[in-house]
Symmetry: D2
């Protein structure tokens, strides 16, 4: 056994489902137990399990054979333990104790030297806050949105890209056979990485992302231009966080208020309605939804998650806490959680992939 700073730690997965979680858990656990001799405590359902003390020790049987499995063997939740505290409102936990206090008590009760948390922006922000409370925390960046600051890529992203691209490939058949406009709505509230990437991979004609507000007239014009060139169909890829130029100019609060009153199930339906009314072309919507989150991780994500997992075990062994494992310059590294917290990695306007998309003829509905 290699000497380790940590003897026993807890591991949890928090936030939305994401391919690669089990591969990462396996990576952390195999390295931590076999190589560094640590004890591993699996915490159920994200931070909620830490608040409620719902946890149990993991044995090799628990993390054997899970490399290819979707979901998370630990369960997950969207619990945000600092939420009540941040805004001065009372916590909904038992009176007299707020959730972070309960977490610290349970960490002590479970005799955990450290925590490894796998999650997205919210999860890693919470990880940073727990660090500030004195806990030894290491974060792992997971999200299909690829929008975590400080890492070039997150695991789950490329698996979601594969699902989304396969869906676009399928829609091409129908678009072509029926001379239709097919709108596909992909995940991505704040960042359009998934829509941009799958849009290029699937040969999308229009790609609408949060970072580049769209103009319905421009979108319609782009589709009409294709029609005038003999292309009777178009594929429109829309991120769920897409917004029009008018919306982008509004204050955030006002924008949200208007969006809630939007007479469509989701933005994809609105874009489709705009296209159909402006071009007269038959337009259909597909919302990919939860299919982007499930299923076996792609080989890319299995490897990335395994790399991240073993790197986390090494940080534990060396006692380097308050950090998130990351990919930097195409190599595995780590970054302080303080730099990651409360930030989002969106697509810069001059990103090379935006250029690439335009150079192969895709439009962003921005009139460019």
């Amino acid at each position: 056994m290699v000497k380790s700073s940590v003897k026993r730690f807890g591991i949890l997965t928090s936030g939305g489902d994401c391919p690669g979680l089990n591969a990462a858990i396996r990576g952390v656990a195999k390295a931590a137990s076999s190589v560094f001799g640590m004890e591993i405590v699996g915490i159920s359902n994200g931070y909620r399990g830490l608040i409620e003390g719902d946890a149990r020790e993991l044995s090799p049987d628990d993390f054997s054979g899970i490399l290819t499995r979707g979901g998370t063997i630990l369960g997950s939740s969207r619990e945000k333990p600092f939420k009540g505290r941040d805004d001065g409102q009372a916590s909904d936990a038992e009176v007299g104790k707020d959730k972070p206090e309960l977490i610290k008590e349970n960490v002590a009760k479970l005799r955990l030297d450290a925590l490894v948390v796998l999650g997205g922006n919210g999860t890693n922000t919470t990880a940073h806050l727990l660090s500030k409370e004195g806990l030894n925390v290491i974060g792992l960046p997971k999200t299909i949105d690829n929008d975590i600051w400080g890492t070039e890529v997150t695991f789950g992203f490329h698996s979601a890209v594969e699902v989304a691209t396969e869906a676009i490939d399928r829609l091409h058949s129908t678009a072509h056979s029926h001379n239709r406009v097919m709108v596909i709505e992909l995940m991505g509230h704040k960042a359009g990485w998934l829509a941009l990437y799958a849009g290029i991979a699937g040969g999308g004609d229009i790609i609408i992302i949060p970072e580049i507000p769209y103009d319905a007239v421009s979108v319609a014009r782009d589709i009409e231009k294709r029609r005038s060139e003999g292309k009777q169909f178009s594929i429109v890829v829309v991120a769920e966080g897409a917004m029009s130029k008018e919306e982008a100019d509004l204050p955030k609060k006002e924008r949200r208020r208007l969006r809630e009153k939007m007479p469509y199930p989701s933005i994809g339906y609105r874009v489709a309605a705009e296209i159909q009314s402006m071009t007269g072309m038959e337009t259909r919507v597909t919302v990919l939804g939860y299919l982007q989150r499930g299923g076996t991780p792609s080989p890319y994500d299995r490897v990335l998650a395994t790399n991240f997992g073993t790197a986390a075990a090494e940080l534990l062994a060396r006692g380097r806490f308050g950090r998130m494992v990351c990919m930097k310059d195409a190599s595995i590294s780590s970054i302080p959680l303080s730099e990651v917290a409360d930030r989002t990695k969106t697509i810069p306007a001059d990103h090379y992939m935006v250029d690439t998309a335009r150079l192969v003829g895709a439009c962003f509905g921005d009139g460019a």
Copy 2:
């Protein structure tokens, strides 16, 4: 060359997109041209092309390399040429001539000895009506719904089953990780074959199909029963034509009227709302939609479509018209179009797959 009754024929694809159309076109065309020396005229966009005379001769280049391609190289439409005539209303074709007359004129102009039509129930019913008008017609059963009378299976069905099953597999991850009820809505207006088949293949817990009206209370009870056995999640597979017992008791017209006023985008959302309100469990909906229609056909469908296609060429050669190619007793055969027209193959209540589903623990929401 083998002697052939037909020297020159037209081929068209009609109705919704379906994997295997190109494989079937290739099967008809390769056999008809290379073996029987026939000339082949491709008609654009289903019966609409026949009404408008939009057609062109096909050469081997047109049908080479299309075996694996989704969609249809001929284009499709939902044109129903007898619609105006049936109900005594004026046809929307040029004054004085109804669409069937235009079709007969164009068949003569294009010098077609026969027609091969690939489509679903509507298409084959029209094929029968054209037969009655004196045209030589052969039908091929295509539909992802598998609901065409007179054939054990249609091409497109098993490809759609694969897409649907893969989707259910993906939802399992999320259902399990988040302790959720996941509702997935599949195609199937009148027949639940796709939902039943994919439901069994994906290990669905509740399967709701048009043939077995459901009772929301029973569905909720089945889910609660699972929870009481420690299964915190459930997968509910719903065919788009599913209906409640109350709806099933209404006259068809009344049922349709109520459905149009239903405050949900589709039946899957209603089922989800019923489950969530009755069980209190977090419930999410995925509508698979057009993804079921597109993409490369599965090997099963490529072979079935090729078998059907070459069988159609043989019927042409032997001058056996007014028939639809079919699968009967697991072998390729044909059946008079008159037997197929105006019928739908739904799931019999005592079908062995309903038994199978119940025997592995799936429920139909019917209280059984």
Copy 3:
């Protein structure tokens, strides 16, 4: 609980790996335990476990979540317990007791009212022999070769077809880019179902199967003919049991002797060498091997295996022994094991799929 003839039975999987085994085990076990209240004993590693008494009772946890998993949770072996006895040679089991006797003793010790065996031709033949010894046996037809007498299809077959077809699709790229002949060798010792089916699905140009002995000169001529038509590449699909016309004319023993001295790793390499030497075209071989046996079963096979599994449970409940579950006229049925034993379902010369293949231009290397 529904009344059952059988209270407790053993289940085993025997012979080569095959997708759908776990789905079938689950089907038998869920129906048998939940609906009919039977106890289920899992026997390890096929008939070997029955000889050695290696078995344990299965609980619902054992067969939950295995529907999509490849392989078999019970393990398998190629043990043939009657082999020594049949030919009058001494059994290699303990002196004084032959293997069938040991099996009967262990069936008694384990208090099994019946046995369910999942396997191919050898397995079901053994099942018949055990029936004759007085045991209550039910067989299930599994094999990727689809060569079991008495059933229209076996589970595992369509999954293997998918793997093989995907491989042929991949080889098309390289064949086309490099103007090469690509030979792909598929499984199928006695029957060419897999090669014929995948050959049609993948658009193979030459399909060589055991049932239609080939002539290397004809194969070369067919490839040259393609080249003369401007098709610079060809895909040749070869079943591992393929043989030349000369070989086919030899007595079986002589044929086997010659084959063992064949200076090629397998028949695919010989066919490739013949083509390359006769046509001068660059020819490459791919042997698909074990990839055809592994991995998650296709939806078709999951459903078929589930249907077969639940049907076996019903036969147990009704006390109908000595039968193999089968697919007949596209419906689930059963057939006496005595009819299945010692037979093989090969492709009849006039099978419609042989016609289909020829009609789309595929050749069988038989000069036709």
Copy 4:
């Protein structure tokens, strides 16, 4: 149109087949023609077409719809035009003119301002030599081996990883069901990237790569160790360029001589024989071969190839010749061909992925 340094250029693909070639051609061509107004000449079959003057102008129809297609629409060959010249031997081209001279003549005849070449190490080395001859050349790094110096990744690599990983996943079923050692041989003559990557993604137990010479005794010991821990099966991933420690110590020429006399079809078979003889465990080999080269590119490779393609068009427009497009620090960049030529990117002994593999329990057969 944006102003461009180049008005007309030739494009060719050289070397082995690789997913993403068509996506890259499309990227170059769409950007070059639509945005920069260049004329594009497609050269057939790699450098051979340039020697023979086999080329034709491409129109948008040629590069539309090819994003998802495997292979290369231009054809390929392994022609190395400088081969004869390098070693002072006479060229096999027409007497009096060597191939590079013919290439320069044809570039002039075809009025090409520049060349874009897509290929691996050999291709880009030739590109450098043509640059030194005065031609304007831009290289694009394609290879499933990922072994091109100067770029973090090549297109084709991740598609091959997916095929290889899926194969390993399939073998797991059989290995587990039959208690076998399964050896899978992957491509990679000089570099083990594919074996390492797919080995981690597929959970391989032993990974044997050219960079880490193996010791058969160590391999056997690792497998025995697994058996002693109750793991009755093992997956061994072998790169085709793997070598034993004894071989690694030999001079290269001697090593090649011995390898040619090796009594096995390929290294995978030798490793399997060594394992079987040392451990007595049943061991089986699968050689994945050409399946790694064909088929539709993965979304990752479609995007990478598109990025590389449009970047090449921009280099053309800006007149930056003698460079290869590359991925550097996870961004698109370019590097002088002179730095790339005659080098190979192998796996450094201290690469983080070697550590990762060891940390999750994989062995390299090196006794470590």
